[in-house]
């Protein structure tokens, strides 16, 4: 049993030594007990997960590694790999809306060329339901093949499959794409989802835990804290630092993560105030109805529709307008259903303002009937779906498109291939089914209420979370140097902007908790000097590493526990002294010198001429060749290492001149 004497250095186990480390359960070491961080000890962890027939790649790393597969210096198909304390997590699994080819999805072959994804990932986390954050999920889990857990919030779990299905329909039915994921795949994929609540700590396994924080942005959007032991990473997803009419502002506690990964879509943007956007929206609607036109607002059942309704209702009230406002019935049912389910998500900070009020109980806004579309005179209609690709909104659009007095307001993004996308890109003649050509004479307006944090918001969030480092995704590096400098200057943290496929490696200094036995502690205290919280103190003991547990015990106890016999280990050192006198006299001089120097220690002069200080034995001998030199043999046990080295150093300086 190698009972190494070692008080100055803690053994550093490299990764290749892992197996060795597993076998060596016992190490004798001295630790700075009151300082909890043990530098250089981070990698000394024991591989715990069982390995299958094929050995997975080394998982334990003493650092945090981040590799964006999408969204690195780029917007769209968000997908970021994070490796933290040996756990691998994939953050978001988005698709790029601008591409129809391979570039649409992140390059998952980066994770493994031919192995099973499940072996390489501990979990997948989805921040919110936007397709650029979850659009590749069925492809990833069902077509590439991943069977591990997928975490998302409850609202995201509810809305995500609807959007995926809509997207699938457009891609397959409208654009005729083959080799696309199927409805069944979406369902199967959603079976792997584990829904989480806000601020709920979820144990993915014994070591990896995640926690969701409110992110604003859209219903159910969350920021996630990923934590292993004392190391943590926060991923923001998309977030919004200013509350709006139906969502609150993102919030996170001072969790001081090792790394904050934040989106920076609007980092170089100074956003126009929401009120001005709303004012324009109202002005446009008002002008149109005033001149007798009809306004169509295609919306997705969730998200901004409620906000726009509240806005119009208030404006109508204020202006005492009588023009009817309708919303399609499917919309209200769906929306009310979701809002009842997820009311806590909408009112994080603005519950009081929204007073428990049915989101769709409006004075001016009434349910729409298909026949109303042909009514003469002005009206405003909210209808689904939001991209004008099917259903009621498309029907109404076809009826109204020919009249230049009318207007359609698109309140969000439209996927390529939809009518919404076509008219937004300026197309005025649309080919409908049956070779019919629809001429669009009505006004087409686009209005973005998208809620992302701008530079100010990013700074606020960094200030809130107080991370050790910041990593920016979404956005061009060239345009973000100023922001990077700003973050580094204001918070004195480093800031990174990796491109897709580029890995940022951040060294960490993990703290490893070590339990100390009561006996050892009592013994230390018996030697006087109570431990002080702020002062590190040297303590001798034996470190036992067993089952990922670290305990510091007295060496006697360690021997007992492990059933080992004690080996005595003595160190011997020769110190040459210039002294022509006899050995006995030299020993006497050494004795009186040490006696006067080491007042607190027991210094003895033994009858055989040797000197002892505690367990340290000093003998004087004649030099074989030089009679003017004496040799001091100093010998000590490893327990008295410090005193031993102190004595040798002291003796090497020589003895004081004897009084003449």
């Amino acid at each position: 049993m190698p009972l190494t004497q070692n008080s100055a250095h803690i053994p550093r186990f490299r990764r290749e030594n892992r197996k060795l480390a597993q076998r060596l359960h016992l190490r004798s070491a001295s630790l700075l007990v009151s300082g909890s961080r043990v530098p250089g000890f981070s990698s000394a962890q024991v591989e715990r997960r069982g390995s299958g027939a094929e050995d997975p790649p080394p998982r334990r790393m003493p650092e945090i590694r981040v590799t964006p597969l999408g969204a690195g210096q780029d917007v769209g198909r968000s997908c970021i790999l994070v490796s933290i304390a040996g756990k691998n997590v994939m953050l978001d699994c988005g698709m790029h809306m601008g591409f129809n080819d391979d570039r649409r999805f992140p390059d998952f072959s980066y994770i493994t060329q031919n192995g099973r994804l499940t072996d390489f990932l501990d979990c997948v986390i989805i921040s919110h339901f936007h397709l650029d954050h979850c659009g590749a999920l069925p492809y990833f889990s069902e077509m590439v093949g991943y069977d591990g857990p997928i975490y998302m919030t409850h609202p995201t779990q509810a809305i995500c499959p609807i959007l995926l299905e809509d997207y699938r329909k457009i891609a397959v039915d409208k654009k005729g794409e083959a080799n696309f994921f199927t409805s069944q795949m979406i369902k199967d994929c959603m079976k792997k989802v584990v829904a989480v609540h806000l601020h709920q700590t979820v144990q993915v396994d014994d070591e990896l835990e995640i926690k969701a924080y409110y992110a604003g942005h859209v219903l159910g959007a969350a920021m996630f804290q990923i934590k292993v032991g004392s190391e943590s990473v926060v991923y923001t997803g998309d977030y919004n630092m200013t509350p709006d009419r139906h969502l609150g502002a993102a919030w996170i506690d001072k969790c001081r993560p090792n790394l904050l990964i934040t989106e920076s879509t609007y980092a170089t943007t100074i956003r126009d105030s929401k009120r001005c956007r709303e004012r324009d929206f109202l002005k446009k609607v008002h002008e149109t109805v005033e001149r007798g036109g009809k306004v169509l607002i295609p919306v997705f059942a969730l998200g901004r529709a409620q906000e726009l309704c509240i806005l119009l209702e208030t404006f109508w009230e204020r202006m005492n307008l009588k023009v009817p406002i309708y919303f399609s019935t499917g919309l209200t049912e769906k929306a009310n259903h979701y809002y009842k389910l997820f009311i806590t998500w909408t009112n994080q900070k603005i519950r009081k303002t929204f007073v428990q009020r049915n989101m769709f109980e409006f004075k001016h806004i009434k349910a729409f009937d298909r026949a109303f579309a042909d009514n003469p005179g002005p009206m405003v209609v909210f209808a689904t779906p939001g991209m004008l690709h099917a259903g009621q909104s498309l029907q109404i659009f076809r009826k109204w498109a020919g009249n230049e007095k009318n207007m359609v307001i698109m309140p969000g993004y439209c996927v390529q291939g939809t009518v919404g996308h076509k008219i937004l890109s300026g197309q005025r003649k649309l080919e409908m089914e049956g070779r019919q050509v629809l001429e669009v004479k009505m006004q087409v307006e686009y209005m973005s209420f998208s809620a992302h944090a701008d530079a100010k918001g990013i700074m606020q969030l960094v200030g809130q979370a107080e991370p050790e480092r910041v990593l920016l995704v979404h956005g061009e590096a060239k345009k973000m140097e100023f922001l990077r400098q700003k973050i580094e200057q204001e918070f004195r943290v480093s800031c990174y902007m990796p491109a897709n496929g580029e890995t940022v490696t951040l060294p960490t200094s993990p703290s490893i908790p070590v339990g100390i036995s009561l006996g050892l502690l009592k013994r230390e205290m018996a030697q006087g000097l109570l431990p002080e919280a702020k002062k590190p103190r040297l303590l001798h003991g034996t470190l036992i590493m067993k089952d990922s547990n670290f305990r510091l015990v007295s060496s006697e106890q360690a021997l007992k526990e492990l059933g080992l016999a004690e080996h005595q280990l003595r160190f011997t050192c020769r110190v040459h002294l210039q002294d022509a006198r006899k050995e006995q006299e030299t020993a006497l001089r050494v004795y009186s010198h040490l006696k006067s120097t080491l007042k607190d220690h027991c210094v003895q002069h033994l009858p055989d001429g040797s000197v002892t200080v505690e367990s340290i034995l000093i003998q004087a001998a004649a030099h074989s060749e030089d009679p003017g030199t004496k040799v001091l043999l100093v010998s000590w046990t490893y327990q008295d290492e410090e005193l031993g080295s102190f004595l040798t150093t002291l003796l090497k300086k020589g003895l004081p001149q004897a009084p003449s």
């Binding site: 609007y266 100074i270 105030s273 009120r275 001005c276 209005m447 100010k456 400098q485 200057q489």
Partner: protein, 409 residues
């Protein structure tokens, strides 16, 4: 107190005139009735909707006293806080403002930060050197001007050099103007006596006033390749030809009211040669118009309806509209910017009414009513005739295209 009945008749919330009795009561009422709507919603008012063709409000990271154009699509802003790092930002105007026709709800309505830099001192004045990538800033500490450079391939504005200024007194800082030519020159000075032109490249002094008059300057404006105008805080105005020894056409203004006022000025139509007009604004709201050919006799002198004398006369601004005849804007008294048509001003001491008053900084102010922000500066859009940019002490920056209601009446 205003009650529901009163509210039913929509009153012009942003109507003309400085006094708005019952405003607080109305706001209170609205808060009670429509709790889910923030109270500062004057913008939705029908009158407000018609008052502005366009209105955009932005929140900067720090308040600016600088709005310096670079072309007609970019503008520089800079922080002026003391004892803090201040940002200098090159902002690109919202795309929406660059398109010829106002295309309704055009999506791009945000400013983009194109370049940014950090200044250790406060920035009170910033001038872009045309046809270069250089900026000159002035502020406190006032012992030197800073020269900055920005690049195409990076978004960082870097300091490149300084121009020493022999200003020893702590609270004075030099005003700056730029002669743009093949060899750009920086005109600067805190007082008449230390007015100098420094060649930007060689840093050699190419002109100095050489007089002992230590009057404090408030405005400097370059009129053409050799001529500049100055205004002292006392109201002393002059036009200087740098090809000659110091012999300005000037108005020494011995009798300008109480003597407590401070003045600033702007010359209209720099390219229109002699015969253009100077507007000079006093801290109590007096506005004088002078013909550059006869500075001794003001053409008119009017009183603008300002609620209080300017609390910080350094923030006084008067600016001529580049795209409108006879229009100017003033700010620096409170949270408003007032626009005037000077066409029919021909008397002395008459009271005038603004054509338009921008109160957005008060209405959109996130703070309480009693700490209304002060407008720090404003500027006209070089091409869009009725569009102005204004900034206030609460770090707000507004872009607004006002409607001349006279035309629609």
């Amino acid at each position: 107190m205003a009650g529901p009945a009163r509210y039913r008749e929509p009153r012009p919330l942003l109507a003309r005139g400085p006094q708005r009795p019952g405003l607080e009561a109305e706001v209170e009422y609205r808060k009670r009735q429509l709790p889910w709507i923030p109270r500062r919603t004057g913008l939705w008012n029908p009158c407000a909707c018609k008052s502005y063709q366009d209105f955009h409000a932005f929140d900067l990271s720090g308040a600016t006293r600088v709005l310096e154009w670079i072309g007609d699509k970019g503008v520089f802003v800079a922080g002026y806080e003391s004892l803090k790092k201040n940002e200098i930002l090159h902002l690109i105007l919202p795309l929406r403002l660059s398109v010829k026709e106002n295309q309704g709800l055009f999506p791009e309505r945000d400013f983009k930060v194109r370049h940014g830099g950090f200044s250790d001192g406060s920035v009170f004045d910033l001038k872009y050197v045309p046809d270069t990538r250089l900026l000159v800033t002035s502020g406190l500490p006032g012992c030197y001007l800073r020269v900055w450079q920005f690049a195409e391939d990076s978004d960082v504005i870097k300091p490149v050099s300084t121009i020493a200024v022999h200003e020893k007194e702590g609270n004075f800082w030099p005003r700056v103007a730029v002669f743009s030519s093949v060899a750009p020159g920086v005109l600067h000075g805190a007082r008449l006596s230390d007015l100098k032109i420094v060649d930007l490249e060689s840093q050699k002094v190419t002109y100095s006033s050489g007089i002992s008059d230590s009057e404090e300057l408030s405005s400097l404006q370059v009129l053409d390749a050799d001529i500049f105008a100055f205004c002292c805080t006392s109201g002393h105005l002059g036009i200087v030809d740098t090809r000659q020894k110091w012999a300005p056409l000037e108005n020494t203004s011995p009798n300008l009211g109480s003597g407590e006022e401070r003045w600033c000025a702007e010359v209209r139509g720099m390219d229109q040669g002699p015969g253009s007009c100077i507007a000079s604004l006093g801290s109590e709201g007096q506005l004088r118009l002078l013909d550059t050919r006869d500075l001794c006799h003001p053409m008119s002198s009017v009183q603008c309806p300002v609620s209080t004398p300017s609390p910080n006369p350094e923030l006084l601004r008067v600016s001529w509209a580049p795209g409108l005849d006879n229009c100017l804007a003033i700010s620096g008294f409170d949270g408003t910017v007032q626009v005037y048509d000077v066409t029919s001003w021909d008397g002395m001491g008459i009271q005038v009414e603004p054509l338009f008053t921008h109160r957005g900084h008060i209405f959109l102010n996130e703070n309480k009513m009693d700490t209304a922000p002060q407008v720090t500066t404003h500027t006209w859009h070089p091409c869009k005739p009725r569009t102005l940019l204004s900034a206030a002490s609460d770090a707000s920056l507004h872009v607004w295209d006002w409607v001349d209601l006279r035309a629609s009446c």
